[in-house]
């Protein structure tokens, strides 16, 4: 059943209006099915000159460059870049840990804002957008489409996504790497509480499939600071055993473990060429997205 459009509180129209001014670029050539703003691995009919190629029989004679023939007495065909659209696949972690939030907003809510905004921006510039909600398995999928009406169904799925169960993100990423057609933009929105070594293999799998992988690593300020004033009983949101601890006793070791994890995650994403964004969920999502889009735009210009 479709949700009431008026309840889509994860969308901020003003923010979307501001973000629409910045296009979403892919960092590597995409394979779309229509013309778009993204580079394609194939040659096309755009105004962007690509290269000269020797004429071979069968080539369209209209593409011969007679001026080049006049200069060199050889036949050359003038080729132009092809512009295409992209397929953006949003991977949303809906495991139980995404329900955590100490600042009035949970990770899943923050993830909805990021995903919803990205979907809107992509569709607005003619790109196809799909969605995969993953936890222990792939909970819901929405295949990529570029029509504005497609957004409605995608937003419904986003709104209905509920954090539940454990995380098997690595396996699900391997699965998605195989199922998503090549050369897509895969945006992972998760707290990434998995083994970085396993995640590295998943990222490399996606990279092997020529996907442009971006990751939003969502962390709560309380998880980062670990500041408690009294003994706590920590209940695992993904169904694991509870832990009773005096936070002041273990804070230092917690920080040490967290730091080691973040360092390793940084190393993994660098090695896997993942567009990695670590996000504290008390941060304004608009700024996060703006940073994401601007960085891609800069990378696109350099490319």
């Amino acid at each position: 059943m479709a949700a009431d459009p008026r309840s889509r509180d994860f969308l901020d129209p003003h923010a979307l209006a501001r973000l629409s001014a910045v296009p979403l670029f892919a960092r590597r050539p995409m394979l779309g099915n229509v013309s778009g703003i993204h580079a394609s691995p194939h040659r096309g009919a755009s105004v962007e000159f690509a290269e000269y190629r020797k004429y071979v029989p069968g080539d369209d004679l209209r593409r011969l460059d007679w001026r080049a023939f006049g200069r060199s007495d050889r036949y050359y065909v003038k080729e132009f870049e092809a512009d295409t659209n992209l397929r953006c696949c949003l991977v949303l972690d809906t495991s139980g840990s995404m329900e955590f939030g100490s600042t009035g907003v949970t990770k899943i809510e923050y993830a909805r804002r990021l995903a919803g905004s990205l979907a809107y921006i992509a569709v607005q510039q003619g790109d196809a957008v799909g969605l995969a909600c993953v936890a222990e398995k792939i909970v819901r999928t929405v295949p990529p489409k570029r029509t504005p009406s497609h957004l409605r169904g995608l937003y419904d799925v986003l709104e209905q996504a509920r954090p539940k169960g454990g995380t098997r993100l690595v396996s699900r990423l391997h699965e998605l790497a195989e199922t998503i057609r090549q050369r897509a933009l895969v945006v992972i929105i998760s707290d990434l509480f998995v083994d970085p070594a396993g995640l590295k293999k998943a990222f490399e799998h996606l990279k092997f499939r020529k996907h442009d992988v971006a990751a939003f690593h969502l962390l709560d300020p309380l998880e980062l600071g670990f500041r408690f004033q009294r003994p706590m009983r920590f209940l695992d949101m993904e169904g694991g055993p509870a832990i009773f601890a005096e936070p002041s006793d273990i804070a230092d070791r917690y920080q040490k473990a967290l730091q080691a994890y973040l360092e390793e995650m940084k190393a993994v994403t660098l090695a896997s060429a993942v567009d990695y964004h670590r996000v504290s969920i008390d941060e304004d999502f608009e700024k996060v997205l703006l940073r994401f889009l601007a960085a891609r735009a800069r990378a696109g210009r350099r490319g």
Partner: protein, 683 residues
């Protein structure tokens, strides 16, 4: 363990407060749903043991801090070796050993043992407080009550006395006080150098006094401040004999003296001994070989005096109390014996025993009379009366009592037919035949007439053959006992509580021999040795009573005669009541008395620690060893120590509670935020 504010210790359960707060805090936990469990699990696995130890250390530090505070405000007291003493006391009895050995100082001089002990005890008592303070220092029988510890200090002079201490007797005095006054709690402080002769650890009185204290319902604690160290370099001088002898040129004084060194010396050393006789001084060197140096028959010419005094002294050393020795001399008095007998022939052996002097130079005279001739006797010349007749009655008894009271000696032998007259509480009963050939079963071997010889040999009293003996009726103190319990030689038993001075004198100077020297009654005359020694000892003692110049060991002078003594030489600080126990020369009318420390005071043997502990077995007893010249306080408040412990515990707790050093900021988790994108490695 004692404290000046012991009631504060009731708050000791508060030390459990940190544990209770910890437990309450543990129960005040909050439950939170947590996402980042992987870090918590990792943190829990890392150093779990250390965290637990740290937790316990923090709790222990907090507990110690509270305990330290409570102990500090309870004002604990520490004595030597950190043992704790003191507490709330009703009565404090101080037993001061003021014997000459207590005037010994340390190797480097300074305060004597007596001064150190006095000051340390006074300081301690000031801290402890008490409702009542009493001093027992052996001067007289009763404890002296003082107003404050300071008054105690002024009462115990640093000079000490010349008399030895009798610790069992002092403790008995303390016991009698506690028994009579029934204080709620009593502390007995003993300050002594635990010399063996002062403590007499072999005495049966210890058992009696210990049992008496154990039987008391109220608690009594004993604190011994002991000074067992002996100054090995200390020397003492002593006159062993002084005689005035007539010479062709007039008269001379013949001295025999002995110098002893406590620790001995490897080789020979010479000590200058200064001799002062009637104000004229001379000095002689005395060579010490080993521990002793002796001079015998050192002659000093006299200018015709028949009586005088003098002293010998050696240079100052560790103990000033044994560096001087006083003596008096006089022309020897004749040793005159009066034999009173119904039948003069029957007492001939007695007369012979009295007439033969052990020293040729000493004259001995014997006069034999009948009982009816008593009235004409010149009693002032008599040293010994040998009485073998009906016991004196009426005027004769009065004369005899007067004679005995001026230290004359009398030995009574049974008459042939006792008529029942009584003297000194005793009267002769019937003659009894003795069944055994040698019936003497026991006798007093260490003192009085039948004591052993100087060489330690016992008199052959057991070899005496007694054919018959006369019964004695009345309270008596037996010196020799026959089989069946009848006395052979005894003294009248007079109880000190109700006895008049004359009766006391009679009890100490009169002897009753239950048989005679007649061959039909005993072998006293045939064997001769026992009779001769017995008579000569009584004669010597009786003659000493007649001498106008006498030498006493401190504390041994007859109490009745000391009230009118005048000081000729000795400590100017001494009060008249202390003359009999302070070394010096005193005049009483025409008589001269020299008072010196007892011979045992020159012996340095001490009672061992274990033996001292054994003497106080089962009593609340603690001991602190002090040292002469040492300056440490016996008892001091140690609340600062506990306060310091509390501060230390708080510092430790603070250090343990400090958050552990975090990862440097550059690499911290927070430094990753706000996040900047990680650029593609390839780019």
């Amino acid at each position: 363990m004692s404290f000046l504010q012991p009631w504060m210790l009731f708050a000791l359960p508060l030390i459990a407060l940190p544990v209770i707060i910890h437990l309450i805090n543990q129960r005040r936990y909050r439950t939170i749903k947590w996402a980042a469990m992987m870090f918590l699990l990792t943190a829990n696995r890392m150093s779990r043991g250390y965290a637990r130890i740290r937790q316990w250390l923090i709790l222990a530090a907090r507990t110690l801090a509270i305990a330290g505070l409570l102990f500090a405000v309870s004002r604990p007291l520490a004595s030597g070796w950190m043992r704790l003493a003191g507490g709330s006391v009703d009565t404090t009895i101080v037993i001061m050993d003021r014997s000459p050995s207590m005037r010994e100082t340390g190797a480097n001089g300074g305060a004597s043992k007596l001064e150190m002990g006095r000051d340390q005890i006074v300081d301690s008592l000031k801290l402890l407080g008490s409702n009542r303070w009493l001093l027992i220092d052996g001067r007289d029988g009763d404890p002296v009550e003082v107003e404050s510890p300071d008054a105690l200090a002024s009462l115990v002079s640093a000079e000490g006395v010349g008399a030895s201490s009798d610790l069992p007797a002092m403790l008995q005095t303390a016991y009698e006080y506690v028994r009579d006054q029934r204080p709620s709690r009593t502390d007995v402080w003993i300050c002594s150098d635990v010399r063996r002769h002062d403590w007499a650890p072999g005495s049966g009185r210890w058992q009696a006094v210990r049992d008496a204290f154990l039987a008391l319902p109220q608690p009594v604690r004993f604190h011994l401040l002991a000074f067992p160290d002996v100054a090995t370099a200390n020397r003492s001088v002593r006159i062993t004999d002084v005689r005035r002898a007539e010479t062709s040129s007039g008269a001379e004084l013949r001295l025999a003296l002995r110098v002893e060194q406590a620790g001995g010396s490897d080789g020979k050393s010479t000590v200058p001994v200064q001799i002062e006789v009637d104000g004229a001084r001379s000095e002689i060197p005395v060579e010490i070989s080993g521990t002793t140096g002796e001079v015998k028959n050192h002659a000093i010419p006299l200018d015709g005096r028949t009586q005088g005094w003098g002293k010998v002294s050696i240079p100052a050393d560790a103990n000033a109390a044994d560096n001087e020795f006083y003596f008096v001399y006089q022309k020897p008095a004749a040793r005159k014996t009066l034999v009173v007998a119904e039948d003069p022939e029957a007492v001939r052996p007695l007369a012979i025993a009295a007439a033969v002097s052990p020293e040729p130079s000493t004259e001995s005279a014997v006069e034999t009379i009948g009982p009816d001739q008593i009235a004409g006797v010149a009693w002032e010349e008599i040293s010994l009366v040998l009485w073998q007749a009906e016991l004196p009655q009426g005027e004769a008894a009065d004369r005899m009592r007067s004679f005995l009271s001026r230290s004359g000696k009398a030995i009574f032998f049974p008459p042939a037919s006792p008529a029942g007259g009584e003297f000194a509480g005793l009267r002769w009963g019937n003659w009894r035949a003795t069944e055994l050939e040698r019936p003497v079963t026991g006798w007093t071997r260490d003192q009085d007439l039948l004591a052993g010889t100087r060489g330690g040999s016992a008199l052959p009293v057991g070899d005496l053959e007694i054919a018959r003996h006369c019964e004695l009726v009345g309270e008596q103190a037996s010196l020799a006992t026959l089989a069946g319990g009848a006395p052979l030689l005894c003294k009248p038993a007079v109880f000190a509580d109700d006895a008049a001075a004359d009766a006391m004198a009679a009890a100490s100077n009169a002897y009753f021999c239950a048989t005679t020297a007649s061959p039909t009654d005993s072998s006293l005359a045939r064997g001769g040795v026992v009779l001769y020694v017995m008579v000569q000892r009584a004669l010597t003692a009786g003659a000493a009573g007649l001498e106008t110049a006498r030498r006493f060991d401190a504390g041994a002078a007859p109490a009745a005669s000391t009230a009118e003594w005048q000081l000729l030489a000795g400590s100017e600080d001494a009060v008249p009541s202390e003359y009999p126990i302070r070394a010096g020369v005193y005049r009483h009318g025409a008589k001269l008395y020299a008072v010196n420390r007892g011979e045992l005071e020159d012996r340095t043997a001490t009672v061992g620690d274990a033996q001292v502990a054994g003497l106080f077995n089962r009593l609340a007893f603690d001991r602190v060893d002090g040292s002469a010249g040492g300056g440490s306080a016996l008892l001091s408040e140690v609340w600062r120590l506990f306060l310091a412990a509390m501060v230390a515990a708080l510092l430790i707790e603070a250090a343990l509670c400090l958050p552990r050093k975090m990862v440097p900021a550059a690499g911290s988790a927070a430094s990753f935020f706000p996040g900047t994108p990680v650029r593609e490695a390839a780019a």
